[in-house]
Amino acid sequence: MISFDVGEDLEAIVEMVKSVADDVIRPRLREFEDARGLPEDVLQQIHELGLTTLAAPEDAGGQGLDLRTACVVAEELAAGDVGAAVAISGPGPAGWALLEHGTDEQRKRLLEPFAADDAWARRGALALLEGAGGFGPDAVGTTARRDGDGWVLDGKKRFVLDGDTAELTVVVAVDADAPLGQWDSLRVLAIEGRPEGMTASEPHLLLGLHTAHYCDVELAGVRVPGGNLLEADDARRALGRTLARWKLENAARLVGCMRATSEYAFKYATERETFGKKLYEHQGLAFMMADMATEVNGARWAIWRAAWELDRTADGSQPSGGEARQRAAIAFRNAIDTSVRITSDGVQVLGGHGYITDHPSEKWMRDARTLGVVNGLGLDDDRAIAEEVLR
C-alpha cells in the first residue's frame, strides 16, 4: 500500500534528531566549520542518542534499523547543517559495505566496537575512488595480492571520508591474480586500526564541507588477515547496493541542506521589504520559492522510493539489483542537480546579504556543490538509469 507515513517509532527519532539539529548544530555551524570538525561534546551527544550505529545489526550493538530510517535521520540532521551531518562519527559507509558483504561473524566483530559507550569518536571509512572520479571495475588500480593466508594491499585511494582517522577502512581493490576490468575480480577488504604502510594526507581544503575530512590514503604493502576479506555472492550486486545506500544517505543530506536553505530564505522573505512589499509578495521571487519547496519534496520522495526498494530486497530477492541501482541513481542524481540550483537560489533570495558570511546560505551553496561531486559517483548515474531503461 502506498504510504508516506513515517510511523510512530521513526517520528520519535525524528523529534529527537530535530532538537539536536535545531539547538545544538544550527547555532554553532560556523564554529564547526572553522574548527574543521565537530567538537567532543557534540560527537558524544550524537553517539549517546544512538545515531552513529542506527543501521548496524542488533547483535553488533547497533539498532538494526533500515535504510528508510537512515535516510530520514540523515535529512533531519542535515537540516541543521549538512557539514555537521557528514562529519558525525560511526562506521559510516564502511557500515554500508558490511551490510552487503561479509559474514555475520565479520559484521559482529568489526561493527561491535562502534557501539561501545566510549566509541563516540570512532569512525569507519570506505576507500573507493582513485582516478578522475567515478567508480567501476575498470577504475580500480589498487591491488590485493594473496600472501599466505592473508592479503597485501598496494595503491592510492582519493577523497576518502575520514581516511585520516578511521579505525575501520573498507578497501575495494582488484585481485592481482584475476583478470582486470571485471566485477568478480574486485576484492573488498577490511583494514582494522592504522596498520603499517597505511598513510593519509592532511584533509583536503574543499569548496565546502570544511567540517568533513576527505583525505587521500596510501596503501603500501598493507597486510590484511584473511578473515577480513568481505565476500559476497554477486560482487556487482553487493557493491552496487553498497554504493546505492551511500548515495541515498548523501542524497538525503542534500535534501536536508536544500530544506535548510529554503526555510531560511522563506523566513527572510517574510521579514525583508523592498518597494513597499515583503519579499514574498513579489511574484517573481515567490514563484522561485514555490519551485524550491516543490523540488525539495520531489527529491525526498525519490529517495524514499529508492530506499524502500533497497530495504525490501535486502533479503537477496531481486538478484540482479538493477532496479534498486536505478532507483538510487535517479534519487542521487536528482538531489545533486536540484541542490546546486536551490542552494544558489537560497543565496539569491537574500540578495547581497546571502553572499556574506553573516548568513549560512553561502555556506550551504558551497556544501551542496561539494557533497554532490566529492564521492565521484554522480557522473555515471545518468548512464545507470538509461541502462535499466533500455534493458
Binding site: 574543499l206 558551497r366 561531486v373
Partner: protein
C-alpha cells in the same frame, strides 16, 4: 551591415588586456583570494603600464590615451564595445582582482554624468595613469538594496556644508577609496526626488569604516561597511550643485542611466568567468581523457562541454548587442538587463558544471574552478539582481506592446 569582426582597435585592446591578465592577474588569482587583497604584482603592473589612464577622459584632465575615444571604421564611437571586450578579458583573469583595478570605478560615471566641470577636474583629475588610487560608489544600505529609493542616509544643509548621517553597506573599495560617491536624502518621503549625491573624501570628519565584509567569494575585492556620523561635507562636493536637483529630477535620472553602460560591463565579466571555468575544465578533460575518448563517460562530458560553450556564446552575444546600441546612442535599458539577467544565471550553470565534470578535483581549493564558483554568484546580485533585471525587461517589453 551585419559584422562581427573586431575593429583594429578592439583587437589591439583585447590582445593587450589578454597579455596583461595572463601575466599579471591570473598567476596570482588563487593567492589573492587567500590573502583577501589584490596582488602587489598586479598593482605594480597597473602603475607601470599606466592602467589608470583609460578611466579618465582627456577633457577633464585625464592623461591617458583615452581608450575607445577613436571612432570605429564606420565612424561610430566604440567605447562601450571596447570596454566590454576588455572587461571579459579582465574577469577571465580573475573576477575579484578586476574589481580592484585602480581608478574611480563605479564612482566614475556619476561624477562624469552629474558633476560640474570643476568637480570632474577635482575628482577625476586626481587619477593619474600611474597612480594606485580608487574611487567608490556608495548607494546600498542595510535596508536599501534593490530598492534604491529606500535610502535612509540623511543629508541636511548647514551653512556651507552638508551634514550626512547613515550607514552604507557592501561598498566595493569603499574603505580604500580616495572618495566615495554617497547617496543621501533630504527627506525619505520624497523617494528618488529627495536624493542627493555627494563626493565624500577620505578623512572627512564623521566618516568611518565600520568593517570589511567576509564573503563567499570575490575575496580579493574589498567590500566595506561605511558609517556617517554628523559627517560634514563641503557644499561644493554636492554633485552637480544645487541646480541639478531643482524640481525636475532630470539630473538624477541621468545618473541612473549609468546602468545602461555598467550592466553590459558586469555581464561581460560573467562571460569572462564562465569562459575561464570552461577552459580550465576543457583542458582538464583533454588531459584526463586523452586515451579514453571512446568511453561513455567521455561522451557525456563532451555533451556537457558543448552546452557550456553554447551558453557562453549566447551570453556574449547579448552583451555585445547592448554595448553596440549604447555606442550608437540608442536606447538599450532592456538589452542591458537582458545581458545581465542571462549571464548571471549562465555563469552559475557553467561553473557548477565545470566542477561536476572535474569531480572531486574540481572542489579543491587549489583549483581555479572552485574559486570561480564562489566568485560568480554575486554576478546575479550586484548591479541589479537577476529579478530586478527581469522587472526591467518585462516592463520594457510590455510598454512597447501596450
Amino acid at each position: 551591415m551585419i559584422d562581427f569582426e573586431l575593429s583594429p582597435q578592439q583587437k589591439k585592446i583585447r590582445d593587450m588586456v589578454r597579455m596583461f591578465t595572463t601575466n599579471f592577474i591570473r598567476p596570482y588569482s588563487l593567492r589573492a583570494d587567500k590573502e583577501k587583497k589584490p596582488p602587489q604584482e598586479f598593482l605594480d603592473a597597473c602603475a607601470q603600464f599606466g592602467l589608470g589612464a583609460g578611466a579618465v577622459p582627456k577633457d577633464v584632465g585625464g592623461e591617458g590615451e583615452g581608450v575607445g575615444e577613436d571612432k570605429d571604421p564606420q565612424g561610430e564611437s566604440q567605447k562601450n564595445r571596447i570596454s566590454i571586450i576588455g572587461s571579459e578579458e579582465m574577469a577571465w583573469g580573475d573576477p575579484g582582482v578586476v574589481l580592484s583595478l585602480p581608478g574611480p570605478g563605479l564612482g566614475g560615471p556619476p561624477v562624469q554624468f552629474m558633476g560640474t566641470d570643476d568637480q570632474k577636474k577635482r575628482f577625476l583629475g586626481i587619477f593619474g595613469p600611474n597612480d594606485i588610487k580608487w574611487g567608490a560608489y556608495a548607494l546600498t544600505e542595510p535596508g536599501a538594496g534593490s530598492d534604491a529609493a529606500a535610502v535612509r542616509t540623511t543629508c541636511r544643509k548647514d551653512g556651507d556644508h552638508w551634514v550626512l548621517n547613515g550607514h552604507k553597506f557592501f561598498i566595493t573599495n569603499g574603505a580604500k577609496a580616495e572618495w566615495n560617491v554617497v547617496f543621501a536624502t533630504v527627506d525619505p518621503k520624497l523617494g528618488r526626488a529627495g536624493q542627493r549625491a555627494f563626493v565624500v573624501e577620505k578623512g572627512t570628519p564623521g566618516f568611518s569604516v565600520l568593517k570589511i565584509e567576509e564573503k563567499m567569494g570575490l575575496r580579493a575585492s574589498e567590500t566595506a561597511d561605511l558609517v556617517f556620523e554628523d559627517c560634514r561635507v563641503p557644499a561644493e562636493n554636492l554633485l552637480g550643485g544645487d541646480a541639478l536637483y531643482d524640481g525636475s529630477k532630470q539630473g538624477f535620472r541621468g545618473a541612473m542611466k549609468t546602468f545602461d553602460a555598467t550592466r553590459p560591463l558586469v555581464a561581460s565579466m560573467a562571460v569572462g568567468i564562465a569562459r575561464a571555468a570552461f577552459e580550465t575544465c576543457r583542458d582538464w578533460v583533454k588531459e584526463n581523457y586523452a586515451l579514453s575518448q571512446h568511453t561513455h563517460r567521455f561522451h557525456r562530458i563532451a555533451d556537457a562541454l558543448g552546452v557550456m560553450k553554447r551558453e557562453i556564446e549566447i551570453g556574449r552575444g547579448l552583451c555585445w548587442h547592448a554595448a553596440w546600441l549604447l555606442d550608437l546612442k540608442r536606447a538599450n535599458s532592456k538589452e542591458s538587463s537582458m545581458a545581465k539577467a542571462y549571464t548571471g544565471g549562465m555563469v552559475q550553470r557553467v561553473t557548477a558544471k565545470a566542477i561536476e565534470i572535474m569531480g572531486p578535483d574540481g572542489t579543491l581549493h587549489e583549483n581555479l574552478v572552485e574559486k570561480l564558483y564562489r566568485d560568480q554568484k554575486v554576478y546575479d546580485i550586484f548591479e541589479g539582481t537577476g529579478q530586478i533585471q527581469r522587472v526591467v525587461i518585462s516592463r520594457r517589453i510590455f510598454s512597447q506592446i501596450t
